[in-house]
Assembly symmetry: C2
Homo-oligomer: 200 residues x 2
DNA sequence: GTCAAAACCGAACGTTCGTGCTAAAATGGT
DNA sequence: ACCATTTTAGCACGAACGTTCGGTTTTGAC
């Protein structure tokens, strides 16, 4: 790997950490440069603008998310087990790998009223993520784990809401029950839409 | 009302609008001064620091929230009707009165990793708001609308998650189904915890 | 070892940030 | 109408912002 690429990697790693803690907008070139131990201009030259830096950071986060959450879950059997695994991996990702909270949640809230490349990109990435969950739900239906009449999009909404709710309950309010709430709610959602194979 | 107070009112009104659109942190003295048509220093003298300005803005939002959402719902009968009314009023507040999204959601996400007075205040206000919902839920139990065994705190979590989920689905992703999802989910939550008076 | 390319640095740019001063203007009770 | 108080503006400050530029160091292919 060339020197430039591994420096970029170092920068993005540190940038993601800062973004996770303080948000995508508070990410400053100077502060980031200081935290990786290089000059402002040296760092800047890797990305030609702050906007592209922000986009790259989100890409980096998305790549990490896919690698940590989506891809490993594929090994589990299609349907509820895989979906459940995604939840567990997301919890782990959200709690352990991301020191300061899920960067997507911050980015979404920060940029929902700020038109531009960053907003568009964040929107695209988040839609892709929700799509991954919806696909896992769709497979759960096809596998016969969930009711064939299930509204996949609506189920995705409920799953997603639960994730965001947990994130805020756990992060800001620091409530210990958050995790139990999350798991219980997930189970209830799945149970409510379970397939009634024998019309019990 | 003295001149100073109504100027403060004007400032806070505009500040809340900006906060709703761009977040509490992006709220700058200069920009705010320009938007209300007065000088930076003239505006600044009303609040002795930016921190207190931010706190005042959140107080202003909380007061508006109470007046628009909590207080009017008291007129509805205790229990599910009142809770449902709170949801409707919150939707209205979130969609119409707040041009750029619920300011609390932004503030929470922005300040969850930023220790200080602002964070503490936002946390306090949000806890109070969740408390209001939990009280309405508690009343629903006492009125016999919800199962006596219901975990009020857990129900509050589900209601709150639904609100946040709707907010993001509707705001960032601009999904039209968001509102239907929200209402459907709320009904399901209530239904799942309904009192079984006759053990049907 | 040579040399062009890539990487990096230091300084400076024009702005904007929050925050002090001081003085002028508006207000409102008497 | 006077005058103390409140409110507002003007100006300046140090710091941080994103960005540009000229020059130095480092890299890696030949």
């Amino acid at each position: 790997m060339s020197k430039g690429l591994e420096t970029k990697e170092t920068i993005l790693k540190s940038a993601l950490e800062l973004t996770s803690k303080f948000g995508l907008e508070s990410l400053s070139i100077g502060g980031l440069a200081k935290s990786v131990g290089m000059s402002k201009s040296g760092l800047f030259s890797h990305f030609k603008s702050k906007e592209t830096l922000q986009v790259r950071v989100m890409d980096y986060a998305a790549e990490k998310f896919t690698r940590r959450v989506i891809k490993p879950a594929i090994k589990d059997p299609r349907g509820i087990p895989r979906l459940r695994k995604m939840m567990d991996l997301w919890l782990e990702w959200s709690e352990n790998y991301m020191v300061g909270g899920c960067p997507f949640v911050s980015a979404i809230v920060e940029y929902d009223d700020r038109p531009g490349k960053v907003r568009d990109h964040v929107l695209h990435l988040q839609s892709k993520m929700i799509g991954s969950f919806e696909r896992a739900i769709q497979l759960s239906v096809e596998e016969g784990h969930l009711d064939a009449e299930s509204d996949v999009q609506y189920l995705g909404y409920k799953i997603y809401s639960n994730m965001i709710g947990y994130h805020i309950y756990s992060r800001l309010l620091g409530r210990q029950e958050a995790r139990d709430n999350f798991n219980k709610h997930f189970d209830e959602i799945v149970f409510a839409h379970r397939a009634n194979l024998e019309d019990l």
